[in-house]
Amino acid sequence: MKWKRLGLLFEPKKAKHFAGYEGFAQSPQVLQVDGLNRTYFSIRTKDVQGLFRSHVSYVDFDGSFSRVVGYAGKEVISLGELGTFDEHGIFPFSPCRVGDTVFAYTCGWSRRVSVSVETATGLAISHDQGESFERLGNGPIMANALHEPFLVGDSFVRHYSGNFHMWYIFGQRWISHPHTKVPERVYKIAYAKSKDGIQWTRLGQTILNDRLGVNECQALPSVVFWDDQYHMVFCYRDVFDFRTTRDKSYRLGYASSRDLLTWHRDDSQVESAFDDCQPGDWDYNMKCYPHFCVSGERLYLLYNGNDFGRQGFGAAMLDV
């Protein structure tokens, strides 16, 4: 695949509409509304303890992502109540049209003591074209389970061939950094299936081979049907030192499938987009939280760059 990078599409610190936030616009994910590309992202505030919380908002682009045409009036969903799974943030937030409604699969964050965080997947529904969402209930639709013991999240859902399909991640183990002793998590991409988008049956195994060994961390799968096959983009990194070291931090991976079951990993299909990336570029040190989206019969790849998307998100377009 040959890509043309379009550069930064949205920088929250330059948008007056988001003046009250601490920056970041993470995990852009698109819902098409009347020819617009409504692009959700997670943006941060700081709480009284100085800790970040992620909130969900959106920016509307035209059909070719060349122009911002509007913003969310307010955050599209509140954070969870005291002690619930999504109390400390929602990131990412993944919309999927279901009939006249929009389902949003949320990744809710709650803080822990011995390790930093736990996540689970929630479901919220919109009846107003994605302007606002209501939770199904205070708990998650998919949480940790016998063989997926923590950090279930990053759910991405599409409806193909009469079924709902979910790609998501789960944590396998926490391991302490050899020098700092800080616990870091290992997580992998997995798959689940559903008739109604609410009750899910998990396949119970990982679906992509590791490129960096058993401790490779795989995140944020996004799938699109394009040119007679399914394409998945995701990001992956080393388990340690990924915040500071370029060759250990997030980069983009890719896999393709014809049957939604067997995936052929070939990261070179998206790596080629960054051949001309230069030190100092907004996406030189890190590429993460990607999203595939077809608009105007073009395939777009939205993604975050350095520092986990602090500056905002950008895009590339398949060059055909």
Binding site: E81, L82, G83, T84, F85, E87, H88, S110, R111, R112, V113, S114, V115, E118, A120, L123, L136, G137, N138, G139, P140, I141, A143, N144, A145, L146, H147, E148, P149, F150, G171, R173, W174, I175, S176, P183, R185
Partner: protein, 313 residues
């Protein structure tokens, strides 16, 4: 009948220093194995972890302790797992030549003190040691049960598995720390592994809207199902007036329960160890008699006692 076990008198077991909570029996030919949860002394921050262990009582004299386990039946969970800080309470059942245990696994949270999900482990040595079926919980949080799934009691009735447990519904903000509200619920299963939640509170609150309920212990006497459980006020409950009492309900179908606490037939005792509080009942039948094990003051800080059912329920 009095106290059976006082954990403060035990020596040589670092995991068994304070508390003996949530007793649960497994009957053997010559003895009755009583699983319970206990704690090492609190850490420097005043925080506890809980382990489950057991002691064996002479079947012909339930006040005679034959042995106390040297080690807990299961280590705590690994770093970051749901049961890293506690295995409590535990409920056991024989299954295909093994012993299956369901337990509450405790983790520590930042905005609230803890969360609990239900784990499962099996023993191949007659209940002395157990191994987890997997590193995660067998029953976790869901849309209508957002946190604190605990107090599992596993049963097998009419060819079906039943798990009675509690589920949290909200955290109340009180003066010192958040306090959870939790109620008795149940789930069913064909294999004891894949559970279907009913998603209903099955015991109506009696004290207040935020009544907390625990230890739903169900047995069938040939004509109907009986449940003993415990309940308390949601706030300021660490005292005689608002602390745990033992309640009772019965059912013909395991779905609809008629609560009648006056039939529980047990209240706080005259002795020092259970004068303020009784809780966490476990009822078992043995050699033609029906007994109840229960906790005394401070939810088992000073051990558990035994009562005998004197009249028909």
């Amino acid at each position: 009948m009095g106290r059976v076990f006082n954990p403060t008198e035990v020596t040589g077991r670092p995991w068994l220093k304070e508390f003996a909570q949530a007793p649960c029996t497994l009957i053997f030919d010559d003895f009755v194995r009583v699983y319970f949860s206990s704690r090492p002394h609190a850490d420097t921050n005043g925080q506890y972890v809980s382990y489950t262990g057991y002691l064996d009582l002479d079947r012909s004299n339930l006040f005679r302790i034959i042995r106390i386990a040297d080690e807990p039946i299961l280590p705590l969970g690994d770093l970051g797992m749901f049961d890293e800080f506690g295995v409590y309470p535990t409920s056991v059942m024989r299954c295909n030549g093994r012993v299956r245990a369901y337990y509450g696994g405790w983790t520590r949270c930042s905005s609230v003190p803890f969360n609990v999900a239900i784990g499962c482990a099996e023993s191949r040595d007659e209940g002395k040691t157990f191994a987890r079926l997997g590193p995660g919980p067998i029953m976790s949080y869901s849309v209508q049960e957002p946190f604190i799934l605990s107090g599992p009691k596993v049963r097998f009735f009419n060819g079906k598995w039943y798990l009675f447990y509690i589920a949290g519904s909200k955290w109340l903000v009180s003066e010192d720390r958040p306090e959870p509200v939790y109620r008795i619920r149940y789930a069913t299963s064909d294999d004891g592994l894949n559970w279907t939640k009913v998603n209903l509170d099955i015991i109506k609150p009696a004290l207040e809207a935020n009544e907390c309920q625990a230890s739903p212990d169900v047995f069938f006497d040939g004509s109907r199902y009986h449940m003993f459980f415990c309940y308390r006020y949601s706030l300021n409950y660490r005292n005689k007036e608002r602390g745990y009492r033992i309640g009772y309900a019965f059912s013909h179908d395991l779905v609809n329960w008629q609560r009648n606490d006056s039939m529980a037939g047990i209240g706080v005792g005259p002795d020092e160890w259970d004068s303020e509080m009784v809780s966490y009942p476990h009822v078992f039948e043995l050699d033609g008699a029906t007994y109840m094990l229960y906790l005394g003051n401070q939810v088992g800080r000073f051990g558990f006692g035994l009562a005998h059912l004197d009249s028909a329920l």
